[in-house]
């Protein structure tokens, strides 16, 4: 089972969070091929971004 150390997990999460949409798309495609603990982190961030986008476009937000 692959793992990140705590510090590495924090650093990778930050890099994913700070990625612009083009880089994020690249990383998502990359981790989908690569797998490993990075995939779980990027999928969590993807979900977060989708929720944020949904909220921004919801009637309440408008």
């Amino acid at each position: 089972m692959e793992a990140y150390s705590r510090q590495m997990a924090v650093a990778v999460r930050r890099a994913i969070r700070e990625a612009d949409s083009a880089r994020f798309a690249h990383l998502l495609a990359y981790y989908r091929q690569r797998g490993g603990p990075g995939l779980a982190l990027i999928e969590a961030e993807q979900l977060l971004r989708q929720q944020r986008q949904h909220l921004n476009h919801s009637p309440q937000a408008a």
Partner: protein, 497 residues
């Protein structure tokens, strides 16, 4: 004279597209990481950026961290080398060069081949410059070149990680062979009790035989060399830094032929003239017919690198079974250690141990003891502290054996009252994988003969000790007693060695 290294106008051999493909595969597929790390050294990559990225992958894998684009970038950032490694975009771009990791082995091999070409070019270019330098010993230049090529071979001949299952059958095959000659798993020494104590000289072991002059060091070495090469078909290399090869061969002849001492042969003291010489030649012909297994190199002042290079060459021609050096203090250490004798001796003993492990053969090295032994009162028995400028000999050696002849010091009896005449005491003071203790063997040094007491050759002048033969293991202690002088006492007949 310093000759500048000639500059080549050729671009050094390289395979950048394969370097990118291999690094990309390592970032994409977890199994690729272990596969490549076991095959390629960091310097196999030509591009400095690739070396840095590879080193980062290596470090992450060593720390059991997942190796991926972001962890590699993070690692490089932490080390402050991300920009030198080409930046984040370059690392990310590496994965674009991978179609499939299926060809990883082929790609790695191509990178390795280009690396080998670069190493060979660099080594020969440097050697060319050094060969022009009149101030350098050409033998040393050659030895250095050979060493570089030997290390290159080691890079290519990488052994895959091994499992217990891989070795299981081999261990039992050896065991089956060993039960046929119980206790004797190494190179036979020709002496029953020494074989029992050591199991024979073991592959990979460094054995140091130390004594004051005239105790019979060279005789012991030659007796062991005869036993291994002539009686047990082991190719044996002797590096004799003190005695010329012709003298050693003369000693071997006197050991083979009854009735003539080494001194008789040296002085031509042979009654019967030329016909008797022909008869001696006939009796010693075993040395001619089987002597191709006994290699003697009598180059004086050899360095440890030269000995290793010569052994590597000999081993490639005929796999060696035993290497012997007479003696350590006459050798030169590596160049870095010269000037400090203790460091030099340490580099020699370390080099001899490495040689034993490299070739997986026993290396038996003779060592001269300091005069402190003579200054000491009583029996003048050697001890570990007597190893002259001993440096790391004590640590590097797997077995340390001291030789002592009471007869030489006019000591007529051992402490148990048995006579010392015609005997040699072998004191095993260190034995990493066995017991320590003392063994007494019969000897006829003027013919270079050693034998188990009670088993004297017909021609030997029977010493009193042999005449009243008893089991001559006079003291046995366990390896834990290392360094403690064992008391003289006769062991019971069923003593373990």
């Amino acid at each position: 004279m310093n000759v500048p290294i000639p500059k080549s106008t050729h671009l050094p051999p390289q395979a950048l597209q394969f370097e990118r493909a291999v690094l990309g595969a390592m970032l994409l597929e977890k199994p690729s990481v272990g596969q490549v790390l076991s095959q390629l050294p960091e310097l196999a990559f030509y591009k400095a950026e690739h070396q840095l990225i590879y080193a980062a992958i290596q470090a992450l894998a060593t720390e059991s961290q997942a190796v991926d684009q972001l962890t590699v970038v993070q690692y490089l950032k932490g080390k402050g080398t991300l920009e030198r490694a080409g930046g984040m975009a370059y690392v990310a771009g590496l994965t674009m060069h991978v179609n499939s990791a299926a060809n990883l082995d082929t790609h790695s091999r191509i990178i390795l081949q280009q690396y080998m070409r670069r190493v060979m070019i660099e080594a020969t270019t440097k050697a060319q410059a050094k060969a022009y330098d009149e101030g350098l010993d050409p033998l040393e230049v050659l030895a250095e070149l050979q060493m570089q090529f030997t290390s290159l071979h080691q890079v290519i001949d990488q052994r895959p990680a091994q499992t217990v299952a891989d070795h299981f059958d081999a261990v039992f095959a050896k065991l089956e062979a060993d039960v046929l000659k119980p206790g004797l798993t190494g190179v036979p020494t020709g002496l029953t009790q020494l074989n029992d104590a050591t199991g024979g000289w073991q592959p990979g072991d460094l054995v140091v035989i130390a004594a004051r002059p005239a105790m019979g060091k060279t005789a012991v070495m030659l007796a062991q060399a005869r036993e291994a090469s002539l009686d047990h078909d082991k190719h044996t290399a002797i590096f004799s830094l003190e005695m010329p090869a012709a003298q050693l061969v003369q000693r071997l002849v006197s050991s083979e032929v009854e009735g003539y001492s080494n001194s008789d042969l040296r002085r031509g003291n042979i009654e019967g003239g030329a016909p008797e010489v022909a008869s001696i030649r006939e009796k010693a012909k075993r040395l001619k017919t089987l002597g191709h297994r006994l290699h003697i190199d009598d180059t004086p002042g050899l360095s440890i690198q030269q000995v290793r290079a010569k052994c590597a060459r000999l081993h490639a021609e005929h796999p060696l079974g035993l290497v012997m050096v007479d003696y350590i203090q006459l050798m030169k250490g590596d160049q870095k250690s010269r000037g400090n004798r203790e460091q030099e001796i340490s580099s020699i003993s370390r080099g001899l141990k490495e040689l034993a492990k490299e070739l997986m053969v026993p290396v038996v090295a003779l060592s001269q003891l300091s005069r402190d032994v003579e200054k000491r009162g009583g029996q003048k028995r050697p001890q570990l502290s007597d190893l002259r400028e001993s440096g790391a000999i004590e640590q590097d050696a797997d077995i340390i054996m001291f030789l002592w002849r009471g007869e030489y010091y006019k000591i007529e009896e051992y402490e148990d009252g048995s006579p010392t005449e015609g005997t040699l005491l072998m004191d095993i003071a260190k034995n990493r994988n066995g017991s320590v203790g003392e063994i007494i063997v019969g000897c006829e040094l003027k013919r270079g003969l050693l034998y188990d007491l009670g088993d004297a050759p017909a021609s030997a002048e029977l010493p009193p000790a042999a005449a009243e033969f008893q089991p001559r293991v006079i003291a046995v202690s366990t390896a834990g007693d290392f360094g403690q002088p064992a008391p003289f006492q006769k062991a019971p007949p069923d003593a373990p060695f």
